[in-house]
Amino acid sequence: MGEAMDPQTIIAKRVAQELRAGNLVNLGIGIPTLVANYVPPGLNVFFQSENGLIGTGPIPEQGMAHPLLTDAGGRPISALPGASTFDSAMSFALIRGGHVDVTVLGGLQVDASGHLANWMIPGKMVPGMGGAMDLASGAKRVIVAMQHAAKGKSKIVQKCGLPLTSARPVDLVVTDMAVMGFDGGKITLIETAPGVSVAEVMAVTEAELAVPDKVPEMKI
């Protein structure tokens, strides 16, 4: 192995492998945003910005930004040829109507049954759910991209203590240590990160993780 990758890069690179040609993809803020940097060249993926754009392109070059073309955080973006813009009703019709093939969301906790909590910490952080609940409920496939643990505590828990984002389970969780799925309704280890052993994953995972006989390593 060459230079060690930082945790965010591991996660973003691995998630990018889940995208397919023609997919409409919505990336949440934080780590999910980085996924766009690792889409294989030549793979045509549509990125949606929920403030009203399909066809999000890279940050514009110096002098080429326009104040009326921004991402959901209000930062300048570019639009690729073939982009489309629309109002918020249409944007969330796309999200809720199952037209978004993949959403990648950050997480505070994911539990053994696939429930995601990512929008508030009661009494502490109450920013509002924005589009997170709609994405978690409406997108065809929900992928959580987050660090495996924070401040020494597992973010993969047996049961979410924080308020849920959706009653609908997520489909895949990609962390800096592992890829986990929920086939059969039970959290299952699918891959480990480069250089990370199954035992190491188990040691920092609070949830009861099903472990198949063979667990391949991420190819990133």
């Binding site: 910005s49 929920e50 403030n51 009203g52 754009l53 326009h66 104040p67 009326l68 073309l69 921004t70 991402d71 959901a72 955080g73 209000g74 639009a79 813009t85 629309f86 109002d87 918020s88 009703a89 944007s91 969330f92 999200i95 809720r96 952080m125 109450v126 920013p127 509002g128 759910m129 924005g130 589009g131 997170a132 609940m133 709609d134 409920s137 409406g138 308020p163 849920l164 984002t165 959706s166 009653a167 609908r168």
Partner: protein
């Protein structure tokens, strides 16, 4: 439709009014009307908007000036002043999913009593809401939202009131332009009638009550 100055437009809004404000993180926001609300010190406003922007920008200006009593929004996390005023209980904040917010406003503008949405079912969002099951699927009944005023920002307006929007500045504007008793519009450019192609009009003229003149 009547052409008015920003001063005249805002003078119509009483203290304590319910006001929808277009824009998304300050993009596509009717800044001149917000500036004028601050100048005329219209207070105790009940705001419906996607977010509270940031201090000094868009809706943030109303919170800087402490003119807001209640806000319904999907996200306020990037405006620390709103967080402070919420914690200090000087404003009341109602948060809801962005898709729910926009559909509720759409209902208000389209004469619908409400919609059934799966978003929020099984979360704390469902508290106090009627729940309806259809074909074994669980939905929340989300009811219509309307307001006394909608402040809308367009890219092009013509002198009949037809509006079109640019890029990501469209966002909540066209939906809000249908859901208020009085719709007040600012536009980047005001153009002669017939200049906007019928196919490119997003908000038809009869929806607009007041157009704020430029310059």
């Amino acid at each position: 439709m009547k052409a008015v100055s920003a001063e005249e437009a805002v003078a119509m809004i009483p203290n304590g009014a319910t006001v929808m404000v277009g824009g998304f993180m300050g993009v596509g926001t009717p800044e001149r009307l917000l500036d004028e609300l601050v100048r005329q010190r219209k207070s105790h406003l009940s705001i419906i908007a996607n977010d509270a922007a940031v201090p000094g920008r868009g809706l943030g200006k109303l919170f800087d000036a402490e003119l807001v009593s209640t806000i319904m929004a999907s996200h306020i996390g990037l405006n620390p002043k709103v967080q402070q005023q919420m914690m200090a209980k000087t404003i009341e904040v109602t948060l809801m999913p962005q898709g729910t917010l926009v559909e509720r406003i759409r209902c208000g503008g389209c004469g619908l009593g409400g919609v059934l949405t799966p978003t929020g079912a099984g979360t704390i969002v469902e508290e106090g809401k009627q729940q309806i099951e259809i074909d074994g699927k669980h939905f929340l009944l989300e009811t219509a939202l309307r307001s006394q005023f909608a402040l809308v920002h367009a890219f092009l307006a013509d002198y009949l009131g037809n509006l079109s929007y640019a890029l990501t500045a469209r966002n909540f504007n066209p939906v809000m332009a249908m859901a208020a008793d009085t719709v007040i519009v600012t536009a980047e450019h005001i153009v002669p009638v017939g200049v906007i192609s019928p196919d490119h009009v997003v908000t038809p003229a009869p929806l607009v009550d007041y157009l704020v003149t430029n310059g």
